[in-house]
């Protein structure tokens, strides 16, 4: 379970401050697939950064499985990410000097896990890249790179996976396959998936949709079929964003 309470993020700007996020609150139950949408500059990526513990809010808290990650040090958050969080980026963000297989191994090796290589192999086979394991990122197509990134994201069996515009750099067909892959992994692994996108086709495939505008939550909608099928996907309380909207 991921709970955001009254999140606020400001940046110094000139003489004053610029509020990028204001009063954002919601909770995401384990196993759900949530899409965060909004136009450019609405604060999506900032929110993703805060939820994933990549950044700290100006005020408010984020708790993952009951741990307030805003109170952790940067290294503690890094360890937490290594244990429980996975990432998929728009630009894939594979390490260019490592092969596909080695890229997938990295999170496991950073944790010191045994059998990293075998697990990475299995994951790459699962995403259909059994014959591309020893290729470097520059030798792979965009879709292949994103599949490697997905395999890497699932390598540590994360409790929650954050995907930042995962299809943004891909053509429609390839993007569709990536989304299918994400959905199937979400179902089979029970990981929560948080998608940030401005692609409404992609967002509509999620169980729940949170819309941001000017740093505030303006819509938080649970799809009925998802509410029935998925574990409780209802917000923990009335979203603060809506109250202030």
């Amino acid at each position: 379970m991921l709970v955001a309470s009254n999140l606020q993020k400001e940046y110094p700007s000139g003489a004053g401050t610029l509020a990028v996020l204001q009063h954002v609150s919601f909770s995401i139950p384990q196993g759900s697939l949530v899409a965060i949408v909004g136009p450019s500059g609405s604060g999506k990526t900032t929110l993703l950064g805060l939820l994933a513990g990549l950044d700290v809010p100006t005020s408010g808290t984020v708790s993952l499985d009951g741990v307030d990650i805003t109170r952790l040090t940067e290294d503690e958050r890094a360890r937490l990410r290594g244990e429980k969080v996975g990432f998929i980026f728009q630009t894939f963000q594979l390490i260019p000097t490592l092969t596909a297989l080695e890229n997938v191994q990295v999170p496991l090796e950073l944790r010191g896990d045994d059998g990293a290589r075998e697990r990475a192999r299995a994951l790459l086979e699962r995403v259909g890249l059994a014959d591309r394991m020893d290729h470097f990122p520059s030798q792979l197509s965009g879709g292949e790179q994103q599949r490697v990134a997905i395999a890497r994201a699932f390598s540590n069996a994360p409790r929650i996976l954050f995907a930042d515009e995962p299809t943004g750099n891909l053509d429609g067909v390839t993007g569709g396959r990536i989304v299918e892959l994400l959905e199937s992994l979400n179902k089979s692994s029970g990981s929560t998936v948080v998608l940030v996108t401005h692609d409404m086709t992609l967002a509509e495939r999620a169980h729940r949709l949170i819309r941001l505008r000017d740093g505030e939550v303006v819509e938080d909608r649970v799809k009925p079929e998802a509410a029935a099928g998925a574990p409780s996907a209802l917000p923990a309380g009335p979203p603060a964003g809506r109250e202030t909207a």
Partner: protein, 852 residues
């Protein structure tokens, strides 16, 4: 953090370094030449020390040497004879003196060192001659073996006759190595070996002539020479006999080697630090390229420590590779150098690999590489994982003021420089001085770079042509390379120029003093009754006599009425002090000469009426007065060939010993010594080389005891030696200059990507190749000029300090060579900058913009 989390760091570091290894190795190669220098110096010093240890006995010809300027009295002779009679002990004798050697066939004369050896000399070691087996012949007939250089100097050949004093010897061969005869001496002057029993017939050891009488003892193997000689020492020393053991000999030789190695080591260490600057700049560039990867690693769970460990491991590995290349260079130098100096060293140096020197070089190299790389690498801990999400996030946050690791690394850097300097210098104080000098230079270079940035900002605000303005703006805009380039370039110029200035100053002084001598031929050991005849010989050929100086030999008999032993005890100086024990060759005159300056008291007062009743006055040289612990007002009593002569010190003098003119520790008022037995030294200015040769030949034929030196020949010899040293210095300077290339390359690399991107952008916007070239030229010319000029100015300061305080010389700035070095460094900077310009044109806009 559990150790589990560190298990895979080494393999991850290795894999992740895949494409960066070459780049990183290039940056790390900045330290290679520095490491090479240190490994070469330490290895050669170790080899030479090893040779000294194994050959000290061979070099000395035995275990203990007793030597004196006079024949040993019978009482001591008896002691030596009985010591030599002990089982296992053998001894040999030799008399050494300088004399003119004259080859009648070629009519050439040369001042030579003559060593007359007894039948059992040397007691240890073998003499090799060409043809072989000629050494015993010296005892059988008037035969001479000469050093190979003597044949050349006299234009003689084996079989010729050689006149030494009143005896003619047949040259029966040349010597290759003679124990007790250091090769270095024979490289400098001609050497002649004859049998000791023929010395008397030469009639050269008459009154006042200088000779050294030696007895060398060989002890049974395993006997400690200092212990063996201890009971004999006081008795011999009281009789002014010097006692030297093979242990002391070894010590003296290794000390000299250590001093030389220290000096070269400091140069090598400074070069290594310059390499460190290159490493820091290069790693800085490396870090900026690794930001994206680090951000991803942070996202997927790497802690700051893990990230740092990955890149420190890479830097250490490449540092080790850079140091290994350096060590290989060092070993290559070690194996080639001895063949170049063969014949100069008095030893056969066996070149062997010195694992300790190689290991130490590697360790110091890796350490310097790491400590300099750590500073930029620390920034990787601060890469925000957010960078993976959005690239506009501040990629490398500035270090916080309270960032403890940064402070620790800075402290480690300073401590390393101090430690390296102290470990390399002969004294800790000098080491601290060197470290302080290096630190100060870096601070000044940094300040001048900051000043340039500031000035550029002010200048760019004015109206300048666009291209120039863009170039100037590059000096102050964010992420400029002004500091790194000025630092690297300036420090490189500083090192090369200081090295050059110090050497040229030291050699220059030598050259000046050689040339400043007013005469060009010196005759010495002229007896009183020969003086008039020699004067007339000179007068007959209308040559000018520059000076005619009387010389009286003497020893100190009493200090203010106390015996030398009592005085030494009272003043806390060793009774064996050279100044107390030596034989002084003194003179008398009324006036000061050009090479002297009174530093205390006053020069002799004009003789007053009735002054004959008072004690005569004398002037002592400043340093010898310090050694003897005497001052103006003290009275010294001298033993002038058995006659006591007292004189009061009325002045102290500073003497420039470097000039080729007769100079003295003690100068007396004429009335003190006029009647004493004396010899004369005559300095003359002779018009031509042929006249000098003729005069020398005429004098030596008529008065074989009179020696003469052709100063123009000495000057030529010095010129040759200086020439050889100059080549060595140029090699060192070139070596340092070669070092500056990878260092500068690394310094420029830090901003290479920005430059490339910007150049390509300008190109996309329509800038021509020439325009971009001019922008880069403006920037690099300014950077090069400031760096090179700052380095040059600093080198004047550094060289002045070294020449003045370390070498006790007077500093004369050599502006033209220093400016040439600065110009060369500037050209180097511009060259590297323009090479970048070419890269801009190779790159397609799309590729460069995508990479950026």
């Amino acid at each position: 953090m559990t150790p589990r989390r560190w298990r895979f760091i080494p393999s991850l570091a290795w894999r992740e370094s895949r494409t960066a290894r070459r780049q990183l190795l290039l940056y790390m190669s900045s330290i290679s030449l520095g490491v090479g220098a240190l490994v070469a110096i330490d290895s050669i010093a170790d080899n030479v020390r090893g040779a000294v240890r194994s050959q000290a006995r061979q070099v000395m010809g035995g275990d203990v040497t007793f030597s004196s300027d006079q024949r040993f009295p019978d009482s001591l002779r008896a002691v030596l004879d009985s010591a030599a009679g002990a089982p296992g002990v053998t001894s040999g004798t030799a008399v050494t003196f300088t004399s003119m050697a004259y080859a009648p066939r070629t009519q050439v004369t040369r001042l030579s060192q003559v060593r007359a050896v007894g039948p059992t000399y040397p007691p240890f070691g073998d003499v090799t001659s060409e043809p072989a087996g000629m050494w015993p012949v010296l005892q059988q007939r008037p035969a001479a073996l000469v050093s190979p250089g003597t044949l050349i100097a006299l234009d003689a050949k084996v079989g010729d006759t050689l006149s030494v004093g009143y005896t003619q010897f047949e040259i029966v061969g040349t010597t290759n190595s003679v124990p007790g005869d250091p090769g270095l001496a024979s490289a400098i002057g001609p050497r002649v070996f004859i049998g000791e029993k023929y010395v008397a017939s030469t009639q050269l050891l008459g009154f006042g002539s200088r000779a050294t009488f030696e007895t060398i003892m060989r002890l049974p193997d395993g006997v400690q020479s200092p212990k063996w000689v201890a009971p004999l020492r006081p008795r011999f020393q009281n009789a002014h006999v010097r006692v030297r053991t093979v242990v002391q000999q070894e010590q003296n030789m290794t000390d000299a080697i250590a001093r030389l190695a220290d000096f070269l080591g400091i140069v090598g260490m400074t070069a290594l630090l310059l390499g460190g600057i290159g490493v820091a700049s290069g790693v800085n560039a490396f870090v900026s390229r690794k930001v994206d990867t680090v951000a991803v690693l942070r996202c997927i769970g790497a802690t700051g420590g893990q990230v740092l460990a990955i890149y420190v491991a890479q830097a250490a590995l490449m540092g080790l590779a850079g140091a290994a290349i350096g060590a290989a260079i060092g070993v290559a130098i070690q194996f080639t150098l001895p063949s170049l100096v063969k014949g100069v060293l008095p030893l056969d140096v066996t070149v062997t690999l010195v694992p300790k020197a190689v290991g130490l070089g590697l360790a110091i190299g890796v350490w310097v590489a790491l400590v300099f790389a750590l500073r930029p690498l620390l920034a990787l801990r601060r890469v925000s994982p957010l960078q993976a999400l959005r690239r506009d996030a501040a990629a490398l946050e500035r270090a916080r003021l309270r960032d403890l690791p940064s402070h620790l690394v800075n402290a480690g850097l300073v401590a390393s420089v101090i430690l390296l300097a102290v470990s390399r210098a002969d004294t800790p104080q000098r080491g601290l001085l060197v470290a302080g000098g290096i630190g100060l230079s870096l601070v000044l270079l940094w300040t001048s770079a900051a000043g340039l940035s500031y000035a550029a900002r002010r200048v760019a605000a004015r109206r300048l042509p666009y291209l120039l303005k863009q170039g100037v703006a590059n000096l102050y805009r964010p992420a400029n390379q002004t500091r790194s380039v000025v630092l690297a370039l300036g420090f490189g110029a500083f090192l090369v120029s200081t090295l050059y200035l110090v050497q040229s100053n030291l050699l220059g002084q030598f050259r000046i003093s050689a040339e400043a001598a007013r005469g060009n031929v010196v005759f010495f050991d002229i007896q009183e009754d020969q003086r008039a005849a020699i004067d007339s010989m000179l007068g007959a050929s209308r040559e000018r006599v520059i000076s005619e100086t009387p010389i009286i030999t003497m020893r100190v008999r009493a200090f203010n009425g106390r015996t030398p032993e009592a005085w030494a005890a009272q003043k806390g100086i060793s009774a064996r002090n050279w100044a107390v024990r030596r034989e002084y060759r003194s003179t008398y005159r009324d006036t000061l000469v050009a090479t002297e300056k009174v530093t205390a008291g006053r020069w002799f007062a004009a003789q007053r009426a009735g002054a004959a009743d008072t004690i005569p006055e004398m002037s002592l040289e400043q340093d010898v007065a310090d050694e003897l612990q005497v001052a103006v007002g003290d009275t010294l009593t001298w033993d002038v060939q058995g006659v006591p002569v007292s004189a009061r010190i009325t002045s102290l003098r500073e003497v420039n010993w470097g000039r080729f003119e007769p100079n003295f520790f003690a100068v007396f008022q004429p009335r003190a010594l006029r009647g004493a037995p004396q010899m004369f030294v005559v300095v003359a200015a002779v018009a031509s080389d042929t006249t000098i040769a003729r005069l020398q030949r005429d004098v030596v034929t008529r008065y074989p005891n009179v020696s003469s030196v052709d100063l123009s020949l000495v000057r030529r010899t010095i010129g040759e030696i200086i020439g050889r040293i100059t080549i060595a210095v140029r090699f060192l300077a070139l070596f340092s200059l070669a070092m500056a290339v990878p260092v500068l390359f690394s310094a420029v690399a830090a901003t290479r990507r920005d430059r490339l991107r910007e150049g390509v952008l300008l190109k996309t916007l329509g800038a021509t190749r020439a325009q971009i070239g001019r922008i880069l030229l403006a920037e690099y010319a300014l950077l090069g000029m400031l760096g090179a000029l700052s380095g040059m100015v600093l080198s004047f300061g550094g060289a002045w300090a070294l020449v003045t305080f370390v070498f006790d010389g007077t500093f004369a700035p050599a502006i033209v060579p220093a400016a040439a070095i600065a110009a060369l460094m500037m050209a180097l900077a511009v060259g590297i900058g323009l090479a970048m310009g070419r890269e801009v044109f190779r790159e397609t806009p799309v590729a460069a913009l995508r990479e950026a």
